[in-house]
Symmetry: D2
Subunit: 147 residues, 4 copies
């Protein structure tokens, strides 16, 4: 019906953000609800930006999410140890395409694979704002090798 | 950088599910956080299935989310009246591709546009299970006209 | 072991805020998770304040939650129609004690009963700020009759 | 207006469950929303029960939340390191009164202090079910010293 996406391997990532699950993340099917994955990806990206001091100025540009997607490969349970592998696929003039992946300690293959696109905007005009070179240099550390 | 997605119009949909926002849906930027949209789309699809008695048997197949994505076009605020337009793009052997869209009462254009793919599986084997013809006939009521 | 709290009756309230449930509100026991009730009470109070224009100034005092509690009397399910009955038990110098109650359309008795205490504070000093008389007059419309 | 609750000290607890915050936990006031604390307390209690194998049988009694409350003493922010101190105040015939407290690494005093009451019930009859002695013995390890 459509091209089947393939889960990334743990070895494709070098940056990992461990995150804890919550009791109410699990829905009536006994697995972590699909909408929770987006909270985790959102948190991983923003934690990394905060830790690296990017887009944290009170007056500078902020990043809004333009697109967010996730392919689900295997069910995640409450007792799983979860970490988000964080990489970047593309850095544009004012946009960043992240490729976060959710890994459990049970599996070398991602349980879920996301795409998360940030657009840097001016706080006041709400229009796209070019990302400066110093910021791009830090972001480049997360660039994934092309397969 | 990539093909720019275009927001759907309210008139493209015939089924709408009104949903209320919550105080904690809003993040520090003062708008509804991106991860909330996925909760709303998930709820709209499942509410519609419940209302129509599809996949509600205690022993029959259940639907898992294989893929979920959202393009964000405009910011949504706490005082917005929100409804989800629900349509179906494709009905496969054991999968359904929904195209939920979030509308506020302020705008004929969708504030956010999703894609939500359900795969029907057998409860025990967790393998894809063909969707029966009676179910397909009800689902077909939501089929969107091709543009 | 302790004094058993008693659920309020629908007839004790005059203000109701209908709120929709979400698919992921339900946990693995198939009922709405206890933590969700606090989101609903929080939303009901803030919706009412917004609708009545109280504490909405960009420079005036804001209300922080000092205490929030809930007694759970009966399980709530995804297909329940839910509304929050909103009343006030006490208006102090700079605090307001709300008594929100969750009702389903199945029952005249509250399924859950909360207590929600707001303290008005100055935005900058973060110290309690006296509530003015005009605001108190509007709040007084929600005062519950003593039993 | 009422007896002011006092925050517990870190030293009063011996069991701690570290939990990560999420980007969307923060509301428009820039602090962790009050409703999030209840998700964290709920998770801490259930994680501890799972880790200790209590109430995990597929056929035995389950614990429902009868009451949950929280006093909020200081604001928590997205970059705070958070852990839940977990203790028990009282073990009854079929109920357990937990006293979870939220600590940040900034402060020896709890930022928020909860009370969380579980009632053990029979899965089928939904009636209270006495807690067996072996379970009580494990729970007793969390008993807080009376002040």
């Amino acid at each position: 019906m459509m091209t089947r996406p393939v889960p990334a391997l743990h070895s494709a990532y070098s940056e990992f953000i461990p995150l804890s699950l919550r009791w109410n993340d699990v829905d009536k099917y006994g697995h972590v609800n699909n909408a929770v994955h987006f909270q985790l990806f959102d948190t991983a990206v923003n934690n990394w930006l905060m830790k690296n001091g990017l887009f944290q100025s009170e007056t500078g540009p902020i990043c809004l999410v333009a697109r967010h997607s996730c392919d689900f490969f295997s069910e995640v349970h409450m007792d799983d140890q979860v970490e988000i592998g964080l990489g970047i696929k593309q850095i544009g003039t004012s946009s960043i395409v992240y490729a976060p992946a959710l890994f459990t300690s049970r599996d070398e293959k991602a349980a879920a694979q996301g795409e998360y696109i940030h657009v840097a905007i001016d706080r006041k005009t709400r229009r796209p704002s070019p990302i400066d070179e110093a910021t791009k240099a830090v972001l480049a550390r997360l660039l994934l090798k092309s397969p």
